[in-house]
Symmetry: C2
Subunit: 153 residues, 2 copies
Amino acid sequence: MTTPKYWWEDFQPGTVLRTGSYEVTKEEILEFARRYDPQRFHVDEEAAKQTMFGGLIASGWMTGSISMRLMCDAYLLDSASLGSPGMESLKWLKPVRPGDVLTLRVTVLEARPMGSKPDVGLALSRMETLNQREEVVMQMEAWGMYRRHSPGA
Amino acid sequence: MTTPKYWWEDFQPGTVLRTGSYEVTKEEILEFARRYDPQRFHVDEEAAKQTMFGGLIASGWMTGSISMRLMCDAYLLDSASLGSPGMESLKWLKPVRPGDVLTLRVTVLEARPMGSKPDVGLALSRMETLNQREEVVMQMEAWGMYRRHSPGA
């Protein structure tokens, strides 16, 4: 493994970053939903028109997965990430539709060393997934674990 | 649309149900991760051995997506579900590895009519994703929205 560019020390409260973007296609909405979330508003274009959503929308799990990919490409793959223990909350606020272009705004809220592992630190971030109209379609508060560059410093 | 079998009234606090099962393969772990979560412990079998996980593990988003599928097949596709506004919490507690067989235990914690829409009700459920050793690998507390069978009753 190459030396990480970002360590726990780089995720301090107040840090804000913006990722690249990802275009959502009808084909990907259908493919994902057929496999993991075959509710009619995700898999059936005609039936979706009769629902409260008024048309096909992406599975919330797909929106989360795309958000994960945006994080990976923006900084996570270059970091000393050790995965995530979980989330404090997740809100699906607006439908994601074919043609939407998603991007992510990450704001670090809290950071602390891990009590049980002195070479690891935790960071809590607000992750806002935005569409091309800058509307927040999904919001998470999620923990990340990272190795520390200078444990005990 | 056919008449739903389950309505909001069927998700009352104390209701417990168990879904079918889903076998996780190495191929699916790799395929999902290459697309959505290409961290080395999800996409590189050899590199994963050198991490704290000791081998390839599934993306947490894949475990969530599989849990969604188990819900769909067990009851959601036969219900008056209107989607989910979000989750109160999500914890990834144990790694999911190739060959694991996952199932879901759903416990309804809370149910209330929706203030703004009298024909809709909300239910908060604890969703525990278990492996073949009955270990909880993921736990969510998630809200579901359902149409009410007898609004105002």
